[in-house]
Amino acid sequence: MQVLKGISFELGEGEVKVVFGPSGSGKSTLLRCINMLNPPDKGEVYLRGENITDPEVNINAMRARIGMVFQHFNLFAHLKAIDNVSIGLRRVRGFPKEEAREKALEVLQTVKMEKWADHYPAELSGGQQQRVGIARALAMDPDVILFDEPTSALDPELIGEVLQVMLDLAKAGTTMIVVTHEMGFAKAVASEMIFLGDGVIIESGTPEHFFISPKSERVKKFLQQLDILYGSHEKLLK
């Protein structure tokens, strides 16, 4: 089954791209093509001019430069928060134990989780787990971070803390592709938004474009439904 068709876009340094659209439209598949967890049958992905989809390329080295944050966190259950963050540094980047630990602590500070460094994922709330998940990706100093509905598995009261971390990252110039239905977040930091439907780009443009004058009926309807379902998170963004 062909999931994605004719999708093409570019992402510049420091930009935030927000991808949204109905369930099953291929948003996760798109992200998973970008880091080759689901290698695309056709098409190419370039990272700073290098073709990731080239079979000759060292895909592990490429993935180390692409962070991924999962809907269900996927923290390593047998490792403490700090070891979740340092394992990539140690095993992939070859950091010595102490240096990896120090750097992991620093990164945990940026997501305000340093106090929980020695806790196991199961001892943390969903919002805390996701912040560790973000730290895990961040620690690798990736060129880009992919977020797959990072807040959609969270209880409403925990969404804010995660979005805040993501906002801070965006404002600090982190390059990100974010699949989310948090339109407040999109409004605040997206440089471009992409509406995906049935595996194709139905419409793309700036947040202003989408919130003031979306072209397609489908997008209008979808945005209205989001408002009803989620309310808008503008309170979060001052």
Binding site: N35, L37, N60, A61, M62, R63, A64, R65, I66, G67, M68, F70, H72, N74, L75, F76, A77, H78, I87, G88, R91, V92, Y120, P121, A122, R136, M140
Partner: protein
């Protein structure tokens, strides 16, 4: 032993004569079974098709033969081949082989199940970080699979220690054979000697399966490992 021995004398006698071989057979059976079992599990999961078939056939074969038959085959089959080794050691070796080859079949299933029950998202997250498949397996999947295997593995320990009693059938002096000696020397208390034997086996198994079975299961659940 001529007068009827006291309770503690019987216990002490059974342990002194039999404990060494019971523990030796159990330890070797489990250890060799562990090494073979993990290998079989890996082959069955990740090996080439023919190797996976072999592994699966091995499991079926050794689960389908009564242990006592395996013991007879190895304990009496080996001496003809290795006629220059001491017969007692050969018989011991035969029982170790029987116990460990059969345990390998069960342990292979235990570890295959444990590896499969590690949440696939764990492997994905590891690969997404840039780990090679082998690194992800070693640092993320295997550590969790081993923890997940502990409850079934403690059950396998109980099976092997109890089944080491079959060694008495070929005259190896382990706990069961020692109790048998007591029962024939003092026929007035033969029932008591076997009752004591039963309690000893229970004491060697129950606490272990309790701690590593039930408690570990609860802990794994709490840590959110497995399933999903």
């Amino acid at each position: 032993m001529s007068d009827i021995p006291s309770l503690s004398e019987i216990i002490f006698y059974i342990l002194r004569r039999g404990l060494y071989h019971t523990l030796l057979l159990t330890a070797l059976g489990l250890l060799i079974g562990f090494i073979l079992g993990i290998s079989l599990a890996l082959i069955r999961l990740y090996g080439a098709k023919e190797l996976a078939w072999f592994s699966s056939g091995y499991e079926k074969l050794f689960r389908g033969i009564p242990l006592i038959v395996l013991i007879y085959v190895f304990a009496f089959g080996l001496p003809d081949i290795f006629w220059y080794i001491d017969p007692l050691e050969l018989r011991l070796g035969g029982v170790v082989l029987a116990l460990s080859l059969r345990s390998a079949a069960y342990q292979s299933q235990i570890f295959r199940g444990a590896i499969l029950s590690v949440n696939p998202g764990q492997m994905e997250a590891a690969r997404a970080l840039g780990m090679k498949g082998s690194q992800a397996f070693r640092h993320v999947v295997m550590p969790q699979a081993l923890r997940l295997a502990v409850p079934s593995w403690s059950n396998e320990y109980a099976v092997v220690i109890k089944d080491s009693s079959f060694a008495s059938a070929i005259g190896i002096i382990e706990l069961t054979q020692a109790a048998y000696f007591v029962s024939v020397s003092f026929q007035e208390i033969w029932a008591l000697s076997y009752l004591i034997l039963a309690i000893l086996y229970f004491l060697f198994t129950y606490p272990i399966t309790r701690i590593f079975g039930e408690r570990q299961s609860k802990k794994l659940k709490k840590f959110g490992m497995g399933g999903g």
